[in-house]
């Protein structure tokens, strides 16, 4: 019996533990993270699962970097609407002109929904982070679980805390999430592999622009609407329906828990809707839904717990949403829209001293 246990321990379990430790030692350090983030491929060059990991790694690497001159930092969090809707340079240049050294981090990630906010708490532990701005979409408070992202965006305890484990996860989802949460090489393996392979082929190059959006001229695409409403079992339709109609959902609980975490860490939070084009209000996912209740529910959850957000409220961004020419596709702001929205955000946040100290 002892002999068999020795064989199993020595040749099966010990090497597995050593391999994972090797990953922590070799890869989980700021320098490697910075290099990989700097040479990461562009969003359109990789598949969705790799893109999810790629975005997460880049945000992680950015937040690990020490802020210059101990400047405070503001992180904008949300879905691809944030990835493509926030121009860090525009915001920082406005603040610089006002004498503020505050740095901006675009922490938007494709498909990020509210229940994932507490799952990312490890990202928001840096002491320089003064404010987190959560910009939500109309689908952000759904209950649906996106299997593609669990290998990158996961926290088992927080998922259990908001009631997600029992409701959403299959056993293998939990184990996948748990291993990625615990082991750096598992979480970021896909982007390391991609960057190493590109380096080996001689095609790795520094990212030409630091964000996901293309900084050049965007083409306005007219949207003519979808003839058929999506089925209620469709992931995105379901997320819109639950966000619009449910009083309680995993998404709302995620926001609530995120505010608790931020309060514990002394991070100021601002919660506001992100502009989405009015012309898609009747698209196959949003058709027939009113989102007034969603904004009310968010206001209830955030009341007394967040920084002022009047100039970013739904009514205030309505002119942006009504102008179809500010969007490059049915979802995302184009260069002009991004610039206008970023100016608005910068000016609003200027009035919040909590974010700059």
């Amino acid at each position: 019996m002892f002999g068999r246990a020795k064989v199993a321990g020595l040749y099966l379990f010990l090497p597995l533990v050593l391999a994972l430790m090797l990953g922590e030692v070799l890869l989980d350090n700021d320098r490697v993270m910075r290099i990989v983030a700097a040479y990461r491929p562009l969003a359109h060059e990789v598949t969705l699962p790799t893109n999810v990991v790629r975005q997460m790694q880049a945000v992680d690497a950015r937040l690990r970097e020490p802020a210059s001159n101990t400047a405070p930092r503001v992180a904008f969090i949300g879905s691809s609407s944030v990835v493509n809707g926030i121009d860090v340079d525009v915001i920082e240049s406005i603040w610089r002109a006002e004498g503020m050294k505050t740095e901006v981090v675009n922490a938007g990630m494709t498909g990020l929904v509210a229940y994932e906010l507490p799952l990312l708490k490890h990202l928001f532990g840096h002491e320089s982070l003064s404010c987190a701005v959560y910009l939500y979409n109309r689908f952000s408070f759904g209950d649906r679980f996106l299997g593609t992202v669990i290998g990158a965006r996961w926290n088992t305890v927080e998922m259990a805390r908001i009631g997600g484990l029992a409701r959403l996860a299959q056993p293998h989802h939990v184990s996948t999430g748990f291993t990625s949460e615990r082991f750096h090489v598992v979480r970021y393996g896909l982007i390391y592999r991609t960057v190493f392979a590109r380096a080996a082929l001689g095609v790795a190059r520094p990212v030409p622009y630091p964000y996901d959006f293309y900084p050049g001229s965007d083409v306005y695409l007219s949207y003519t609407g979808d003839p058929v409403q999506a089925s209620d079992t469709d992931w995105l339709r379901r997320a819109y329906v639950v966000s619009a109609q449910a009083g309680d959902s995993l998404g709302y609980r995620g926001l609530d828990r995120f505010l608790d975490i931020a309060a514990e860490r002394g991070i100021g939070v601002l919660v506001a809707p992100v502009p989405e084009p009015d012309l898609t209000r009747d698209n196959r996912y949003r058709r027939g839904l009113s989102f007034a209740q969603m904004d009310t529910r968010v206001a209830q959850i955030t009341e007394g717990r967040v920084l002022s957000d009047e100039s970013l409220a739904r009514a205030a961004i309505a002119p942006l949403e009504a102008n179809a020419r500010l969007f490059r596709d049915p979802t995302h702001l184009n260069r002009e829209g991004r610039s206008l929205y970023s100016v608005r955000l910068a000016e609003h946040l200027l009035r919040l001293p909590e974010c700059h100290s």
């Binding site: 090497p15 090797l22 293998h172």
Partner: protein
């Protein structure tokens, strides 16, 4: 549960703890219970199918003892009917209903039957063939029925090979049960080498090729003919690494647990003819089809035309075994034709000329013929497969402007690695399972270091996780 699920590792740890702690019959029971748990992870209710199928065949085979004539034949008939009925109900009923309804609609009668819409039980094609071969072997008097039901239940459900083979014979496995010695150092090290090779093939090669293959086959109208060629060649490599990787892991795990599971792939892409290819590809299925279908049909002993017909029947059914869809039938038909023609050309002048050809040219020709078949196998439907092949042959088709992914260079590099490993390991395949290649020759610290480093490389270079292709069968 898949070997790639993170959940598999705690599961394996529990299995190994059980194997260390108990001996004798208790260990057989423990392995059986864990195998059922492994199966239940996919869809718990289907455990009862596995259990029912095992119980029935155990009882029927026991019933054949000392019986002759009609009684014995009836028991076999019950086994055949129930096993094939199970397969027909869960795997082919929807396909059949769709065909009937298509005919009904064409005749203006509308939909005639309702498709049951059963979820396909994972591994049903594999374990059904195992139980079938068991009762047939007992019927033929080639083996005695298992005495201990736990032995038989373990044979049917043995988790390393339960969901995607290799298809093992009771005559090979049952005698090992009483004598198996798990976690013996030499066997474990050999098993670990197989497991590492299997994970490398699956996670590093196959899963990294999938992103170049899937988009092209899923939306061929967007891609150029060049992209078709690349995706098709890549799929040939992907399916080999995916399936043989699974088999290697299965054989390695079995070896760690003290069992020998036969080799399922013997460098098939180095075959010089289609007949050799099928002796080296999915060997356990090829042998099954040969022993229980092709030879009972008469094999190649009843003239050329009958040989061709027998090959066609065998391979069409082999194609259907893979999936209930027309593209699998056509894939089977293609291989049936190739095997049948090759069989009939044996001993002829044309056959002699082929044998005198430069061997690498034979290998290349065989690879091309097999790869043409993979287009049907991978295409989402028959029309897409035919159209893609037509476009590759220069016919006007559905191809679009998008070229192959530039990162396909990376995939090509991987392909080179596969080809080199393929050639390098070709003569070592039996040795790996028997005594391993490297680990037994080095010191204990070096062993631990090598296993750790290989594991680290596999984790780091794994592609986006894909389900094993053969899980769908």
């Amino acid at each position: 549960m898949s070997f790639l699920d993170a959940l598999f590792f705690p599961f394996l740890a529990m299995v190994l703890v059980a194997v260390v702690c108990v001996t004798g019959r208790a260990r057989v029971i423990a392995l059986t219970v864990f195998s059922y748990l492994f199966y239940a992870a996919a869809f718990p209710p289907y455990v009862f199918l596995l259990l029912g199928s095992s119980c029935l065949d155990y009882v029927l085979a026991r019933g054949m003892r000392g019986k002759r004539g009609w009684t014995r034949r009836s028991l076999l008939l019950i086994s055949l009917t129930s096993n094939l009925g199970l397969l027909a109900t869960f795997k082919y009923a929807d396909f059949l209903a769709t065909q009937i309804n298509t005919l009904g609609e064409a005749a203006g009668l509308g939909a005639l039957v309702q498709a049951p819409g059963f979820l396909l039980p994972v591994g049903i094609s594999f374990y059904t063939f195992q139980t079938l071969s068991y009762t047939i072997d007992v019927y033929r008097g080639q083996m005695r029925p298992a005495r201990d039901p736990w032995d038989f239940f373990l044979y049917v459900s043995f988790f390393p090979q339960l969901v995607a083979g290799p298809i093992i014979r009771a005559s090979h496995f049952l005698p090992q049960i009483k004598a198996h010695r798990p976690l013996v150092e030499a066997g474990t090290l050999a098993g670990i080498e197989l497991i590492l090779i299997g994970f490398f093939k699956k996670a590093v090669i196959a899963d990294n090729l999938a992103p170049f293959v899937d988009p092209v086959f899923n939306a061929p109208q967007a891609y150029s003919v060049g992209a078709y060629y690349l995706a098709t060649i890549f799929f040939s490599v992907q399916i080999y690494c995916d399936f043989s990787g699974y088999s290697d892991i299965a054989r390695g795990l079995a070896r760690v647990l003290g069992f020998h599971v036969p080799l399922n792939f013997r460098a098939p892409y180095l075959s010089g003819s289609i007949i050799t290819f099928w002796r080296r590809w999915h060997i356990s299925l090829s042998l099954w089809l040969r022993d229980y279908l092709y030879i009972p049909l008469g094999g190649n002993r009843r003239g050329r035309w009958r040989t061709l017909i027998n090959a066609l029947i065998t391979w069409i059914l082999g194609g259907l075994w893979h999936g209930a869809a027309w593209q699998f039938i056509v894939w089977g038909l293609w291989h049936g034709l190739l095997v049948g023609v090759a069989q009939t050309l044996r001993g002829t002048r044309t056959g002699g000329m082929y044998r005198r050809m430069f061997f690498p040219a034979q290998v290349l020709l065989t690879f091309v013929l097999v790869t043409i078949g993979w287009v049907f196998f991978r295409a989402p439907d028959l029309t897409t497969g035919v159209t893609m092949l037509g476009a590759m042959a220069g016919l006007p088709g559905i191809s679009g402007p998008q070229p192959a992914d530039p990162l396909a260079l990376y995939a090509l590099a991987l392909l080179g690695v596969v080809a080199m490993c393929h050639v390098a390991l070709y003569r070592q395949l039996d040795r790996i399972e028997a005594q391993g290649l490297v680990l037994q020759r080095v010191s204990v610290p070096a062993r631990i270091g090598l296993i750790s480093l290989s594991t680290f490389i596999i984790i780091l270079f794994s592609g986006p996780t894909q389900t094993f292709i053969y899980f769908q069968f």
